[in-house]
Symmetry: C2
Subunit: 264 residues, 2 copies
Amino acid sequence: MKVLWVLAHPEPRSLNGALKDAGVAALERAGHEVVVSDLHAMAWNPVVTAADYGHDPDERFRVGPVSAQARAAGTLSADVRAEQDKVAAADTLVVQFPLWWYGMPAILKGWFDRVFLKGFAYGVVDPDHPGRTLRYGEGPLAGKRALVLTTVGGRGPDLGPRGVHGHLEELLFPLQHGTLFYVGYEVLPPVVVTGANRVSDDEFATAARELRERVLAVPHTTPLPFRRQNGGDYDDDLVLRDHLAPGRAGLGIHRRDRPTETER
Amino acid sequence: MKVLWVLAHPEPRSLNGALKDAGVAALERAGHEVVVSDLHAMAWNPVVTAADYGHDPDERFRVGPVSAQARAAGTLSADVRAEQDKVAAADTLVVQFPLWWYGMPAILKGWFDRVFLKGFAYGVVDPDHPGRTLRYGEGPLAGKRALVLTTVGGRGPDLGPRGVHGHLEELLFPLQHGTLFYVGYEVLPPVVVTGANRVSDDEFATAARELRERVLAVPHTTPLPFRRQNGGDYDDDLVLRDHLAPGRAGLGIHRRDRPTETER
C-alpha cells in the first residue's frame, strides 16, 4: 500500500500520537509506504480564503467556481497543491482525530475544505452521461480506500445505536459518506478507541494491537455498504426509491445492509 | 433579545453576507441588541493549541484539563475570552454558515472547539447530584436559545428524509444536539436556504422574508424536542430505555416527537 496518514492532534505525547506511531510502524515493517500529514506539526491553515486561489479581492469570491478555476490554472496555493499530490499518490487514506463536539477538530475539517476542491475531488461529470456528476461511489478518487480512526471520551454504550450522544456511525456520516464516499473512496469500518481520557497501559496495548491489525487488513476489509448514487437506488430527485427501505427514513437507509435497524 | 450572531463566510458580497444583513437589520429595527462575530472579518483562529492556555510546552498538553485550568486561572487567550463574554451576555445565539462537506466550515467548527471550553460550556457538575454532569438540556448555558441558519447547494429533496446526502436535520445533529443542546441551549428548528449556488432575486426576497420572520419569532418558537439526559429517558449507561422507541435506533430516537419516522 501507499498510505497517506492525516493526523489532527495538538500533542505528540498523547494517546493519538502513540496510536499514530504504532500504526505507521506496523505498516512500514510490513513494507508499505507511509506519508504522514501531521496537521498541527505542519501548522496547517484550515481556513478557506480568496488568497488560496490568487483571487482578485475586488471581485466577488465564489468559493466553488473560483477554486476550480485556480486548480485548472495552476494558481492554487502551494500547501493545498502539496496535499492534493499526497492524496493522489496514495491508494489508502487514514484519517485520525479525537472526536471533538461529535466531529472533526477544525484543523482537520479545514483540510477537507481546502484540499478536496472542485475538479480534484468532486464536480467531475461522467463522460458517458453528460449531466451526471460522478459522486457517491464513483467520484474522482474512486479506487482508493479510506479508514477513519477516532478516539472518544465516552465508554462506548453512550455512542452505541441507542446511546445519548447518538450512534457514532451516524455522527460520522458527514465524513464517511458525505465526504469520503462522495469523492470515491471505499470507506472501511472505523477504528474507535473509547474511554480515551483514561487509557491504562493494558487498554493501550489492546487498542494498538487492534489498530495494527486493521491497518494491515485494509486491502481485504469489506467496505461500509453505502448505496451508489448512480446504481439505480435513487430517483431523479436523488431520493431513495420507495421500494427500498419502504416507509423508513434516517441515515441508516443509505446503507444496503441496514433495513432492519431502523425498520421496527 | 440580546443576540450573538456568528457568521462563517469568506465573502461579504455573498448570499450569506446579504442574509446576515437582512436578519440583523430586522432585529435592530425591532429594538433588539445584536453583536456580530464575523469570523472571517475577525481573522478568527480556529486551531486549538497549547498557547491558548499559557501552557508550559515541556509538559504534556491534555486539552480538557489544561483548558479548564486556564479558564479558572484567567490565563485563557484574549480572543477566546472575548467570545465567551459575548456568549454569556447574549440570550440568543444565531449560527450561520454555508454547508461545506455536510458540516460547518472549519473556521466555525474551531469557534466551538476553542470557545466552548470545560467549565464554561460543559463539565459542570449538578450541585444537587454530585457525579451527575449537567448536559443535554441542562448545561451551563441553559436558558438561552439557539438558531442555526445554513445555505445548501442542493435543491431540497436530496437533503430530505430519504435524500441521497442524508436528512439535513440528522446531518446537523452533532451541532444542534451534540453541541448546542449539550451545553444547554433550547435549539430552534433551523432556517435552511436551498439552491444557494443560484438564487434569483425573487428567491432571495423569499429567503430574507422567512429569515426575518424566524429571527423575530425566536422567543416564542417551539424548540426541537430533544430528550434531556437527566429526564429519566436514559439508563445509567446513558442508553435510551427499552420502553422508549422500542426496538429502534438512529438519531431520530433522541427526539421525543419522532417515534414513527424510524419505526416501521
